[in-house]
Amino acid sequence: MVRERVVVTGIGVVAPNGLGAEAFVEGLREGRSGVGPIQAFDCAGFATRIAAEVDTDALELERYVKPLKMVKLMSRAARFAVVAAGMARRNSKLDFDAVDPGRVAVSLGAGGMGPSDNDMLENEAMALLDSHESRAAGLDVPAFAKAFAARTNPILLLRGLPNIAASHVAIQQRARGPNNTVTTACTAGTQAIGEGVRKIRCGDADVVLAGGTDAMVNPVGVLGFSMLGTLSERNDCPEQAARPFDRTRDGFVIGEGAAILVLERESFAQARGADILGEIAGYGATCDAYRITDERPDASGAVAAIRAALRDADAVGADVDYVNAHGTGTRMNDEVEARALTQVLGPSAGAVPVSSTKSMIGHLLAAAGAAEAVACLIAINNGFVPPTINYREPDPDCAVDPVPNRSRELDVTLALSNSFGFGGQNACLAIRRY
């Protein structure tokens, strides 16, 4: 039996350097940074005081959320997801009446580091303060519970559940098929798309809204990654802070946003005369099964994921025209990733453009892989590959062509999008011109 191909017919993006696919295309073409001083909260005293934040005033929630009261049940990440899904659906021109809702699935990378929206954090912290005097040492749980219940609107708790963003997408998009949330940290967006592809291949759905969303620019998110030593501390030059593959890189910049693709069974898309933007031709995922935050130094876990994606796409390393790297800008990631690509791409590795869009939009965490899959589709459809901005000093340990600082005109037929995450997660998508 010939396997059904899975094609992309719509793109929706909420990115720190552009809302909507068109703005994102121009942001990537111009190498526009979305990084700046943190606006979401008072970060005085934080080691890292920069992030890539979304312009929420421009989200147009009233256009994408019906009834509008649903907004109060949405975390920041859920709002991004709903807007990105609405944009993607419009872009696909897929009519609600043209598809059985039971055949529309959702596969979403989400969940970041849990329910730490600013308003939830405030409730927890103030409740702790209220209950503090009652016991000198240790948490007085009954006092905390009383104080928390006294000040917390119960509906707030619903926002923190990891699956709720995907539920909101389903409600707004009448998607009554399987609804899955992938919570594999920084690989979640990539895996959600890959698992969405499999939903179509195995016959569970004709259409999948697949992608990722995250919003960790809050005190717990910034502190957490900062304390783990993964964040850039170049607070004095936010736009130049994210420097993937550069010798002077000092960590990633936290970003936020969402990206959603409309995936369709090829024959379904053809039957309705859809514009096809590309094919998700291959997906591979592995786990290092090694350490929680260290990657295997021989890059074998990453190599296995990339090779699995190529095999799934019936392609080989020499077919690859462009790689959208995970490229966080941490010392370890970029070195191990460059090593993996050298192994997979073979002798031509140095000639293949390998850029990190995180240099512009920061690390979107559970949404990163989805935004980066979009970057690959943009490369395929617009004839250019996005740059790695802030690249000044080559690192001999990162032997790749990072497309320094300026986008480059290039005809791309096959692109790879890599994602690696805490816990040893490795995932890769092979995206092909259709």
């Binding site: 009834p67 509008l68 009261k69 907004v71 109060k72 049940l73 006294a150 609107n153 119960p154 509906i155 619903l158």
Partner: protein, 103 residues
Amino acid sequence: MPGYKTVLTPASILAGSREIVTRVLFVPVGDVHPESELIADLGAESIDFVDLVFQLEDLLGEKVTVARWDRWLRSESARLDRAAAVTVKGFAEFARAVADGRA
């Protein structure tokens, strides 16, 4: 809010209840009339009732729960079940009952 209760009147409770309904259900204030049904006319769902009673605390100065609303409705035998049909006026009447110590 200490002392807040002393200024509560039937009219101020009805006005406050309307304001809460408007805010919680994201509906235009012009659509919120005393006889408007929260579910049928204004689109309320179960989670909104949790939100509505939470917001009553600011108006009444004391904690209110959905369970308390249900108990009060059951005690008023002539009334319908909360989930079936409650109007803005009915919500305000519950708020008044809380304020007067009847619920």
